[in-house]
Symmetry: C2
Subunit: 345 residues, 2 copies
DNA sequence: TCGTTTTTCTAGATCGATTTAGAAGAACGA
DNA sequence: TCGTTCTTCTAAATCGATCTAGAAAAACGA
């Protein structure tokens, strides 16, 4: 039994396939009675409208924008920051009746063409916290897919919605510096450390550009401080926990721990709690993002308007009226109980 | 300047288009040296692999599964329960190198064929908390898209991963009944009430089947209780807040408030806090789902394994080895500080 | 050496729609 | 009445790949 196509319907009604197509896409190109007759016949035959793939091929519009996450897709949902971004993006996508295609970023088989980024039928792509040199970006570029990133890249013609990472981190650095902190550990995500053991990294080894920039921002305002970089794995609560445990149980405790994301900082707070340490008194903890849980936990952090970031990316991707191609969002230091003066010794 | 296609590459190398196609899809169908030559030439020409839409059309595989949410897409991300489901689903999708297509469920123009569900190029669809009779489901059905729902439907041949809603609610009902509650308000989501004013509903007016089933479960174990149904809008923290405010400020206060989702219950707790009422002492609050925040807030709730639910749906959609078509997940009553004995009067 | 099997590659049809250019007929103005 | 403009509809080309069936060449066994 052959599938019901536009041709089947056309024959059944006694018109040309073009007319059936027009009935769906250009209602003003045919008389109303005929259109209704076609639609009725289509329903009768069980025809659910033009095939998506065929339409996408011929018209060159897929009706979907891709979303690329750094981490494993499943990880992405564990960070409310990423979820907030998605919510903003989804809001705009909805407005333009466009779907969101979440693509897993498996590094496998880039050459062979069997990875999701190459398979994906999309009109444009949102790049969320993906390192500049990632092969998937090259793939999209050669495919000619317009992209908007949440990081400022090197190319001057790149579109992005971002924050001034250095300046944002500098605000936090100034805060910590004034509180007298000279021994700082920065918790960051790093795929290399994805095993079980936390690792200490040099600035050169830090993967993502925005992480690097944040560290530089801290250094800028804390020239006398010793800043160590530690990773407990992917960006997640558990990595922050593991990384902080390692730091807290070592001989060489810092006076402040900075998570490059709130989830990591919250993990660090949990590690402290388990050891009877009080954030803000025994040790200062700070994060980035200001996710909802940060307020509940009393976490000092750098706020960035994440949902707005998602919305802005969506507009750049979908709204032709949006001319601005590079947008800097504001950040703000939010001081809460998790930060306090460095203990004297 | 014409686009680079499989044909361009074929001509440049001096082979047939079929061979180039095989170079990407069936490496064992051609000699290794030729394959490399083709891939090299492709890279040189800036060819990023077979066009997704064309491939999807010809091969009938889109490489993506759709995800359908009840609410507005943007709302969906505000409920950690939905996010947890997505995380589980994404995990399996990643394993099968399949993308996730989040489709906005705008009810507009179902006939005309311009809505996202009809535009979407997908191989299968996950239906998350969508009411049985929703037109989008009919669209997918006629399109012949395999579906797995998170609700048990009426059709016996439907695939689903669900919980026993009645039994789950009954567990909570038993708990409340033993605590002596006879005056209960149930907070549920309802599109009709999406305006500013909360509404009180009858059981017939309740939209989603699973909501109805939960109410029935409560009734079953609380035969003497007066159970009122109130909606403050969509499923969200704010709706729970609004609904509870309305209830608390009325003449006719209940002794217990049950949110049909934790986010709504948490909203209700917030409304109490603002009025100086202590959950578990002045009024009992309970929810459904057991999202992470429920533990922090001390919310009594019915736990369901949400991430596993997502994983199971993913397996049913993507794993051919998965034969089971209907799966009942376990639920558990988790008693925390937000529930206590009904005050005597 | 000759037939048979295997490997490697290709021609041409096909997937299901949209688009372009234009035909046929109706409506219109003078 | 006749040319012009609108409206309504269609034929045929096209989007970019994959698939089927089979040809050509190479390898093999006896």
């Amino acid at each position: 039994m052959p599938r019901v196509t536009i041709k089947t319907v056309a024959q059944a009604v006694g018109v040309s396939p073009s007319t059936v197509s027009n009935a769906y896409n250009k209602p003003d190109q045919l008389s109303a009675p005929l259109r209704e007759k076609i639609l009725a016949k289509a329903a009768e035959l069980g025809y659910a409208g033009p095939d998506a793939s065929a339409r996408a091929l011929r018209s060159g519009k897929a009706g979907a924008v891709g979303v690329l996450f750094t981490d494993k897709l499943a990880y992405a949902f564990s960070d409310p920051y990423a979820v907030g971004f998605l919510a903003g993006l989804a809001e705009v996508a909805e407005e333009f009746t466009t779907s969101l295609l979440l693509m897993p970023l498996s590094s496998s088989d880039i050459q062979g063409g069997t990875n999701a980024v190459q398979q994906a039928a999309i009109d444009a792509a949102a790049i969320f916290c993906v390192a500049g040199g990632h092969p998937a970006l090259d793939t999209l570029r050669t495919r000619g897919v317009p992209m908007v990133s949440t990081d400022r890249g090197d190319h001057p013609d790149l579109s992005w919605v971002a924050i001034d990472e250095v300046e944002a981190a500098a605000k936090l650095g100034r805060h910590l510096s004034r509180l007298g902190h000279r021994e700082v550990v920065v918790l960051l995500d790093n795929a290399e450390a994805a095993g079980s053991n936390p690792v200490e990294l040099t600035l050169d080894e830090v993967g993502y550009t925005d992480c690097e920039l944040r560290v530089r921002g801290l250094q800028k305002e804390m020239p006398d401080a010793r800043i160590r970089l530690v990773s407990g794995g992917h960006n997640a609560f558990s990595s922050g926990l593991i990384g902080a445990e390692w730091v807290l149980d070592s001989q060489d405790r810092p006076t402040a721990i900075v998570g490059l994301s709130d989830v990591q900082a919250l993990g660090a707070m949990e590690a402290m709690r388990a050891r009877g340490l009080v954030p803000g008194r025994d040790l200062t903890v700070a994060g980035f993002d200001d996710i909802p849980q940060a307020e509940t936990a009393g976490l000092t952090t750098i706020r960035q308007p994440i949902k707005d970031k998602g919305r802005a990316v969506g507009r750049m991707l979908l709204d032709p009226a949006q001319k601005e191609r590079q947008l800097l969002m504001p950040t703000e230091l939010v001081v809460r109980s998790s930060s306090g003066p460095a203990p004297r010794h």
